[in-house]
């Protein structure tokens, strides 16, 4: 149905031409789902925009053809493309809330598309728009018609985007990272819906994602992209079980999955033995009946409803839950950036909840409790070099100055695997992984006892996530730190944590040792979460590795 050959796209930039896609070829058959997998910068999204001919200014198709139904999309006139977009080929996007016009009712946005492609007239547009909303299984569609995007949840917005994409009965759907930024249960609901509806209508689809596990679960065939080229294509299961290309193998290895250990995520040559870490018996952090209530427009909002837990010295505790469950509020209170409504936070036996957040800055325990933030880019001052960023907490909280300070900064950089020449670079000159290392180095600069990690790998590519997770494990063993790891990704939590706390609606629904919670969950919500996580097919790599190792011995 779609046949792409030697397709190449390049962008004109100030620094000359950049080749984003360098001659790729693939086919999509009628009714088939193709997954295009790759890390950021691999050219997977550019490929889809080029197919739709909606590249940003400066992007052009340099070579090759993309034949859809007998027409070459690369050569088609803009007029013809406008008729093809939305009617023959349509797209859904990542960040669904931003993908909808914020000041326009969702029903009207649907009507625009229906009218444009002659599927509705002024008279029946409303009814058809509601029908399109019902088609993506939105309950109470007539009421949703009048909603603005900001009034809907992320998952609901993605359904609306999907409704717009399906409204005119296209034959090919391109889904560009459709679940990035959505909760794991929402991700499953959206992906199941996409799969069911495209199957029902006999549509073909292309799923573009960085998540190999997700692609493997929902696609018939996968194409792995790297630096604008396809390095490997094949049926999903086969590709996972026996990756041929070294890059595919690296990706498969780096994907967190049940049964794999932290070191298994790394390439074989980097799998040094992981140092043992055994949590002590002494309680470092004790949380008792912690409550946080925000004043809201319609009555108070109970973000955290009286939770209690204990973190022992040297322990790594995972705090898991979906957006709005109160996990970020909890971590902000623990790191003393936010004041609690009631309850105690005992740190080393002392109730730090009594110290107001704005006075805690000058408390001697400030240096003991540090945080690694979610967005490695936004949490760095863009005008500070890596060296200044790491020096910042030391200058504020300790007397270290001059040569000793520089020695300490270099020691921290080495500890975090940041090459010393990069210390004088600014955040925009660093890669995502390097920025994450700077953030970690800053957090451990004062030798904290307790480190709160707020989804530190959420914005990172999977291979870099693997490296950062291993770095965190090494640091923990070396410095004897205690971690609170906040995450929505159960597979990642399983790798790093000894103990898991599952939160829902401001309450702890289940907590216990990681293996117990993960393998024999007792609460239905935990089971839902576990069931929603994409399950990558079993890989051969683990067995082959052990076989190879034993053979070597």
């Amino acid at each position: 149905m779609l046949s792409i050959s030697d397709f190449a796209v390049s962008f004109r930039t100030r620094r000359g031409e950049v080749q984003a896609v360098r001659g790729i070829s693939f086919d999509v058959a009628q009714g088939e789902t193709l997954g295009i997998v790759g890390e950021s910068g691999s050219g997977k999204s550019v490929t889809s925009y080029a197919l739709m001919r909606i590249l940003d200014a400066g992007g052009t198709i340099k070579a090759g053809s993309a034949v859809f139904d007998g027409r070459d999309l690369a050569q088609a006139a803009e007029r013809d493309m406008q008729a093809i977009r939305g009617r023959e080929i349509s797209m859904i996007f990542q960040n669904p809330r931003a993908a909808l016009n914020p000041i326009c009712k969702v029903g009207h946005q649907l009507e625009d598309v229906l009218k444009r492609h002659g599927r509705a007239t002024r008279a029946d547009a409303r009814a058809k728009a509601i029908a399109a909303l019902e088609a993506v299984r939105i309950r109470d569609a007539a009421a949703r018609y009048d909603a603005y995007p900001f009034e809907l949840s992320g998952g609901m917005c993605q359904r609306v985007v999907f409704a717009i994409a399906l409204a005119c009965g296209p034959r090919l759907l391109i889904a560009d990272e459709p679940t990035t930024g959505l909760d794991i249960t929402t991700q499953k609901a959206v992906m199941d819906l996409v799969r069911d509806l495209t199957r029902e209508r006999g549509m073909s689809s292309i799923l573009i994602t960085h998540d190999l596990g997700l692609a493997a679960e929902y696609c018939d065939r996968l194409a792995v992209m790297k630096d604008g080229r396809i390095v490997e294509t094949g049926p999903a299961a086969a590709l996972f079980a026996d990756p041929q290309d070294p890059y595919t193998r690296k990706l498969v290895d780096a994907t967190p999955r049940p049964g794999a250990s932290l070191r298994d995520l790394l390439p074989i040559e980097a799998r040094t033995p992981l140092a043992d870490h055994a949590p002590g018996d002494r309680a470092l952090v004790q949380v008792r009946d912690l409550v946080k209530t925000y004043p809201g427009k319609s009555g108070p909002v109970h973000a955290v409803k009286g939770i209690s837990f204990t973190i022992r010295e040297g322990q790594s505790v995972g705090l898991v839950g979906e957006s709005g469950c109160g996990k970020s509020t909890t971590s902000s209170m623990l790191v003393r950036l936010l004041d609690r409504t009631s309850g105690d936070i005992l740190f080393d036996g002392f109730d730090i909840a009594d110290i107001p957040a704005d006075r805690f800055v000058r408390d001697k325990r400030r240096s003991q409790i540090q945080m690694v933030f979610q967005d490695a880019t936004d949490s760095l001052n863009p005008r500070h070099s890596a060296r200044q960023t790491i020096a910042d907490p030391i200058l504020r909280m300790s007397a270290l100055r001059g040569a000793a300070l520089q020695t300490r900064i270099e020691e921290l950089a080495t500890l975090c695997g940041l090459p010393l020449p990069l210390l004088d670079r600014f955040p925009h000159q660093l890669s995502g992984g390097q920025k994450a290392r700077v953030g970690i180095a800053r957090a451990i600069a004062l030798d904290p006892k307790f480190l709160i990690l707020d989804e530190p790998t959420a914005a990172l590519d999977v291979s870099i996530q693997a490296v950062v997770l291993n770095l965190l494990a090494d640091l923990r063993a070396r410095l004897g730190m205690t971690y609170l790891f906040v995450s929505h990704d159960l597979n990642v939590v399983r790798l790093l944590c000894d103990h898991v706390i599952v939160m829902q609606g401001g309450e702890i629904v289940e907590q216990g040792p990681t293996a117990q919670v993960m393998d024999t969950p007792s609460h239905p919500y935990t089971r839902t979460l576990l069931a929603a996580a994409p399950k990558p097919p079993t890989t051969k790599t683990n067995e082959t590795d052990t076989a190879a190792k034993s053979a070597a011995e």
């Binding site: 739709m52 940003d56 349509s90 000041i103 625009d112 985007v161």
Partner: protein, 341 residues
């Protein structure tokens, strides 16, 4: 809708403390200014006794507090006092002169929007093209030429050299009669009276000062439109709209421009505020009987009642303007509720 009406009511109520503050501050400021109106109005030949006589007549011998109480009492009755320099009640003066300024400012803003907004949109849609460069040149020229200079230049070229424009002597040539007063805007009043000849005459008088002011206000509006459009056009929802096959016009205007309106409206409000206060120079050049020149004359003469009346009128105008802008925000953007205040 009930909630919204109530919210508008609350928003209106919030303007009351602002106005009270303005009354107090304008009273104190005028008293604090150097110069003694009694000396000024008693004349150059006056002796100590006659100055004292004038002072008593003006009520300036009373303690400050008493003066304030009297002033507020008059205000409550709608009496803004009598201007010493014109001899008219301040309210009458303002009613005469405010429409003149408003007519000039509004027509300048309308003209400026008609040029600046399409220019900004085109510059954003065709970024880097000749129209983008034209926009940049116009914007730079607009901000760098002071209004009194463009005003005099226009008068020199169109009146003195070409003879196309009438003499820059006020709102209407002395050949014509003022149209019957309804709104105080000559253009509207003459149309209401069906007097097309007067309308044309008023329009001719208005043309040059309007163009002068419009050139000045063009710059911020065009720049903001261009920036807001560029930002809107690079948004994710524009990509969605394009991927859905919507036509270019629909994408640019229906999706892009509507989203870009908010910052443009904000800029419009700001521009309106400063132009209303700053068009005194244009009024001077064109002998326009507006409120700006009135205020300057009153200030020079320490004409307390007139200055206070002017400040109060401007304050009410700004408060109303801000209210209108706030309300139009809520119309443009459903995300803005009144209750978030």
């Amino acid at each position: 809708m009930v909630g919204r009406a109530r919210a508008i009511g609350i928003r209106l109520a919030q303007t009351v403390p602002v106005l009270i503050g303005v009354v107090v501050i304008s009273f104190i400021l005028t008293r604090a200014l150097p110069g003694d109106p009694a000396v000024y109005f008693a004349g150059a030949m006056a002796d100590e006794a006659s100055i004292q006589q004038v002072r008593e007549a003006l009520g300036l011998d009373k303690p400050l507090m008493t003066q304030f109480v009297l002033y507020v009492g008059d205000l409550a009755r709608g009496d803004l006092g009598r201007s010493l320099s014109t001899g008219q009640p301040v309210l009458t003066d303002l009613a005469m002169r405010l429409p003149a300024s408003l007519e000039l400012t509004l027509s300048a803003l309308i003209l400026s929007c008609l040029i600046a907004i399409p220019l900004g949109v085109l510059a954003a849609v065709r970024q880097g093209s000749w129209i983008d460069h034209l926009c940049r040149v116009l914007v730079t020229a607009g901000v760098s030429l002071p209004t009194f200079f463009t005003g005099i230049l226009l008068v020199y070229v169109f009146y003195y050299l070409l003879g196309l424009a009438p003499a820059p002597l006020g709102r209407l040539d002395f050949l014509y009669f003022e149209p019957p007063r309804v709104t105080g805007f000559y253009l509207i009043d003459s149309l209401l009276a069906g007097d097309l000849e007067t309308f044309a005459a008023a329009l001719r008088q208005l043309a040059l000062p309007t163009i002068t002011l419009a050139l000045f206000t063009l710059a911020p509006i065009a720049r903001m439109t261009r920036a807001a459009m560029l930002q809107a056009l690079s948004s994710d929802y524009i990509r969605t709209a394009r991927a859905a096959g919507l036509s270019r016009g629909k994408v640019v205007f229906g999706y892009g421009f509507r989203n870009a309106l908010l910052p443009v409206v904000t800029t419009l409000g700001m521009v309106f505020s400063f132009v209303l206060g700053a068009n005194v120079l244009v009024e001077k050049v064109f002998a326009w009987p507006g409120i700006g020149s009135y205020a300057v004359e009153a200030l020079v003469a320490s004409d307390y009642a007139a200055v206070q009346g002017f400040v109060l009128a401007m304050a009410i105008l700004f408060v109303t303007l801000n209210l209108i802008i706030d309300l139009s925000y809520a119309l443009i953007d459903p995300r803005i509720g009144f209750d978030t205040k």
